[in-house]
Amino acid sequence: MNIHVADGDIGNRTLAIVGELKSLEGPLLPILHAIQAEFGYVPQESLAVIARELNLSRAEVHGVVTFYHDYRDHPTGRHVLKLCRAEACQSMGGDEIAERIKTLLGIDFHQTTLDGAVTLEPIFCLGLCACAPAAMLDGELHGRLDTASVAELVAEARR
């Protein structure tokens, strides 16, 4: 997922994305999603370009980006593993699962493994409470986690 790009390029590619989505009603969130999809995160350099093109202030764009946890301001590992930390999952052994995953990966939440393979993030409710505890790997949901399936999940992520 993570692709490193030269700075000057970010501006141009942001401009292209904004140009494509600008005509939507309420284009800011779709643009930010597209940028995150493109770069793996929302580069700071993109924000001024978005502000200029949408005729918003830099402050406004900054306010929106920082409001949503999902928009990252730095690159992630190749894979992103999101572990649900909401009430239902916690009550179904989520804490234990979390500790297990941290140990397997050797990192804490919000960190990326040294080999750049996996970033671990907490998330508050995947809406999969019926299958708690739940996680999401690169956008794909995994439910009813246990020690064994967690190991499998981590192994898949580390690839």
Partner: protein, 959 residues
């Protein structure tokens, strides 16, 4: 005297006309529908606790303190976001509400420093007030938890804590004290329209962020002060309050910067000015301000101020400090000698648009009654004299037709040759507010100003014409309206002279005035001109605002007439939301013109040749007045060079820096035998003066200023003049020394004389102004309340006059030697020649004038951003540093003129408006080339200025 307390109603007033009656805490209250319960309560004197609401911005409903109970409704709705309804029964204080409020306050205070005693807001803190109002006694949650208050929690670094931002020179931002009510964010958006602030993050992590988590100074912030005013705590605080403490009394006065004429409360501690806070009842600014009026008053206490009168025999001598009596006696005897030796017309005076109406009136009275000639002129000569002439011809009055509130009713706004967000920022904000509500904007300007495109504002049309082609453009717009049948025939038949209209319509309809034909002159694509004309003619209420980009041209007066034509042909005169609105440059340009500062006009724009008018003044003043118009500034200078004009009394104007063709001005001044300068500082003109009379600031005198909407605002004395005398007293003393029996004890007596002699001011008096707040002239028997909008039922002159506007290209043309066109303008933080703003911290934003050059022109000449460039015209040359930007079109360069070393007027030529001699500042053919540093003239000039500022017995200030 005490602090003027302004009631905060919590939410803006409703403009609805239907009234709604409800009961609040047992009291029946009637308010316009759409009013919030909070506002209705406050109008009845019931204060509902609140933190996030203030009446400058819309309700937000975030603080949860203003909750009320409404009979028959569930829950506890917020009173700020809940509108009143007929028959509603509201309770603002119940046991349940008290518990909720106290609980909310506990949460706020659990994350707030408890340093009230040493806090700058102590005595002016709404959080403190509310803690008292809800009866907060203890905080169950303690203070040890997660917080934004302390840099370290038990030794560990607190990531949530942010240090104080002191980057702005005038206020500080202390995030530790922030309660995230977002009043500042909303004030920046709704009132100022800059959108420089936001709330970053979410939940407990929410913080106010300038720009993208930047320092204030690096963000988009324009330092208008709206956020500081809105802040209920010490989070955003004026540095002056931190330094001095809370003020103890205040007076309402009027800002002395631009022609918007904002009302401010000067908040004082003794004779020390603590801060200037915009007054909500000020009808020009409605509680808003800009960086200049709000913060840039430090010049009044600056060490450069000259406080003692000075004399010298020759301008090469050092100054010698003398007593006031000696100075007056010297001026009186010199002026008498010059008149005896060279004739009565050898002396004259210049009034100031920076001084009060009363002071201006006295200077012209001194010239007419004391000198016995009409050699009086004013700096309006170099800015809005074409407005006076053009609008006088078309409508019959030399002034704008609307009040500033009118913009709230406009649907299409045309801005020509003006840059309100920099030059008239408070009006700029009011305009932007209307644009955000959906009004359309047409900008006619060679440069891409902020109004053309800035957050949430975008002009429907930007006609980026070549400097000097205004008339061609305006006539082309009229051509489209007339030939496409968009004229408002009914209005024209009723209000205007039909045969003159037919003549004019025939003229503009000629093919040579079509947008296609003038495209070669203006450089603006014809379809844009057609689009803009159609929009203006059919888009609803159309208002035209213009500035010096219209007047300071060889065809300035013609353009003003063309603007008047455009307003009349579309029927846009005589009601709210329309009209012709000159944006006046200086605080009292309107007033100085009204007061008879022109050589051919007595107060009230009455010609000196008019016997009846002269008789009024002759009777009042007990002298015989000359019926011959006197000399204009440029004529005085010409006559001086010719040796027939020898003495000049200049009050508060720096003609050497502000008038065109600096070398000619210098030669004229140098040829005079007695130049008297009355000013705060040794300005550039004083380098050529023989007598210097120290001036006083607007804080040091009583008087009135008349702003661009003809509004007469009171200026109130808040401190003793540092130089000992207000300017009107100095003029009076000088007059007395010349043998005139003047005896005004107070400026109010001068105003009474103005009212007695000038019909448009007939009812104006200080008592009346105190009662009304302010009033827009004409204010007489017919319109005792003043006249916010003029020409309502018909034009002052009778029938509106359409005048042919033939485009004549200026003689100032580009050619092989001078291929570029230079135009000039202002920047937000600086003001005109900068005598004041350069002596404040505003220099942080603009420490030097830069020459804006299009990248294409720069590349051709090998000029990079920041390089020194030589700027040369037929008149002279100067150097300044380049700023490469595409705001200017290729072929056009632009600079500001706030710094004397720039010497922009060495470049400008002596071409001027055909009718009024207003100089053609806005077009000069120039060439630019890379340079190593200051030009020879700049070096010579600096040396001359340094030498002429020496004061005997005082060490030269080390620089």
């Amino acid at each position: 005297m005490s602090l003027i307390h302004e009631i905060d109603y919590g939410t803006p007033a409703s403009t609805a006309e239907t009234m709604v009656t409800l009961t609040i805490d047992g009291r029946d209250i009637s308010v316009p529908s759409g009013t919030s319960i909070m506002r209705a309560s406050m109008e009845a004197g019931i204060q509902v606790p609140k933190l996030c609401a203030t009446d400058m911005v819309d309700a937000f409903g975030s603080c949860r303190l203003c909750l009320v109970e409404i009979e028959g409704r569930n829950g506890t709705p917020a009173s700020c976001t809940t509108p009143v309804a007929p028959g509603m029964v509201v309770h603002t204080q119940t046991g349940r509400l008290k518990d909720i409020r106290r609980g909310v306050m506990e949460l706020y205070i659990s994350d707030h420093p408890l340093d009230c005693l040493t806090c700058a807001a102590n005595g002016d803190c709404e959080l403190q007030d509310m803690a008292g109002a809800v009866g907060l006694r203890d905080v169950r949650y303690g203070y040890e938890g997660d917080n934004h208050v302390r840099a370290r929690n038990n030794g560990d670094i607190n990531a949530k804590w942010m240090p104080k931002d002191e980057s702005n020179p005038y206020f500080t931002y202390d995030p530790a004290k922030c309660i995230v009510c977002s009043r500042c964010v909303r004030a920046c958006e709704e009132v100022q329209g800059t959108f420089a602030l936001t709330i970053e993050g979410r939940g407990f992590g929410s913080r106010v962020s300038p720009g993208m988590h930047e320092h204030f100074i690096e963000s988009e912030c324009v330092s208008c002060g709206a956020c500081v005013q809105a802040c209920p705590t010490a989070t955003l605080t004026e540095k002056s309050v931190i330094e001095i403490g809370q003020p103890e009394h205040s007076l309402v006065t009027t800002c002395a910067y631009c022609g918007v004429g904002c009302s401010f409360k000067a908040e004082m501690r003794g004779e020390e000015l603590v801060r200037m806070v915009p007054w909500k009842d000020g009808k020009a600014n409605r509680g808003h301000s800009c960086v200049k009026g709000r913060f840039a008053y430090g010049y009044s206490m600056h060490k450069d101020r000259i406080l003692n009168p000075m004399i010298r025999e020759k301008i090469s001598d050092p100054w010698r400090e003398v007593t006031w009596e000696e100075a007056y006696a010297h001026v009186a005897s010199e002026f008498r000698r010059l008149q005896y030796q060279y004739g009565r017309d050898a002396v004259g005076g210049i009034t100031s648009s920076r001084c009060t109406n009363e002071e201006t009136y006295l200077v012209q009275k001194l010239v007419r009654a004391g000198f016995g000639n009409n050699n009086v002129d004013t700096c309006a000569r170099v800015c809005h004299s074409p407005t006076g002439y053009g609008l006088g011809q078309a409508f019959g009055t030399s002034a704008g037709t609307q009040d500033f509130d009118s913009v709230e009713h406009s649907d299409v706004v045309v801005v020509i040759g003006a840059n309100p967000t920099d030059g008239h920022p408070v009006f700029g904000s009011r305009l932007k507010k209307r644009l955000r509500q959906g009004a359309k904007l047409i900008v006619i300007d060679p440069r891409r100003t902020d109004l053309v495109k800035s957050p949430h504002v975008e002009a429907a049309y930007h006609l980026a014409l070549k400097p000097g082609t205004n008339v061609a453009m305006m006539t082309a717009l009229a051509h489209v309206i007339v030939t496409e049948g968009l004229a408002d025939e009914q209005f024209i038949r009723e209000r205007c002279d039909w045969s003159e209209f037919e003549d004019w319509a025939g003229f503009v309809a000629e093919e040579r005035h079509s947008p296609e034909a003038v495209e070669t002159l203006t450089g603006v694509p014809a379809h844009l001109v057609r689009g803009a004309a159609r929009l203006f003619a059919t888009g609803g209420n159309g208002a035209i605002y213009y500035g010096l980009g219209v007047t300071e041209h060889s065809q300035g007066s013609t353009t003003v007439m063309a603007i008047a034509n455009l307003a009349m042909v579309t029927g846009n005169i005589g009601r709210p939301g329309v009209g012709v609105n000159p944006l006046r440059g200086q605080n009292n340009v309107q007033g100085s013109c009204d007061m008879g500062s022109f050589p051919h006009e007595l107060p009230g724009y009455r010609h000196v040749a008019d016997d009846a008018t002269r008789e009024i003044f002759e009777k009042m003043w007990g002298v015989t007045l000359s019926s011959e118009p006197g000399l204009r500034i440029n004529n005085m200078l010409d006559a001086a060079v010719d040796g027939t004009f020898k003495g000049l009394y200049i009050q508060g104007e720096d003609i050497l820096q502000s008038d065109p063709d600096t070398r000619h001005v210098a030669a004229g001044l140098a040829a005079m035998e007695c130049v008297v300068v009355q000013d705060l500082f040794l300005n550039e003109t004083a380098n050529y003066a023989h007598v210097f009379l120290p001036g006083s600031t607007f804080l040091e005198k009583d008087g009135t200023f008349t702003n661009a909407e003809r509004r007469i605002n009171r200026v109130r004395k808040v401190m003793t003049p540092k130089n000992g005398y207000a300017d009107w007293e100095v003029t009076q003393n000088l007059a007395q020394a010349m043998g005139l029996a003047w005896n005004y004890a107070h400026p109010s007596e001068i105003m009474d004389e103005i009212a007695a002699t000038t019909p448009s001011f007939a009812l104006v008096s200080y008592d009346y102004l105190d009662r009304m707040g302010s009033v827009q002239w004409p204010c007489n028997e017919k319109t005792p309340q003043g006249s916010p909008i003029m020409h309502i039922d018909g034009f002052v002159r009778g029938k509106g006059k359409f005048i042919r506007t033939e485009y004549v290209a200026t003689d100032e043309r580009t050619g092989a030697r001078f291929p570029l066109l230079l135009t000039t303008g202002r920047i937000l933080s600086q003001y005109n020649v900068g005598a004041q703003t350069r002596r404040t911290d505003n220099v942080v934003w603009h420490e030097e004038d830069r020459l804006e050059v299009h990248p294409h022109d720069a590349e051709l000449r090998g000029i990079r951003d920041g390089d020194w460039v030589r700027l040369a015209s037929r008149s002279g040359d100067t150097t300044l540093r380049a700023l490469i930007t595409d705001r200017v079109a290729p072929g056009v360069v632009y600079t500001t003129f706030h710094h004397p070393t720039t010497q922009a007027n060495v470049i400008t030529t002596d071409f001027s408006d055909w009718a009024t001699n207003c100089p053609e500042y806005k077009v000069t053919a120039v060439q630019i080339s890379p340079s190593n540093g200051p030009s020879e003239w700049q070096v010579e000039y600096d040396e001359q200025a340094r030498r002429s500022r020496r004061i005997a017995g005082k060490l030269e200030a080390a620089e």
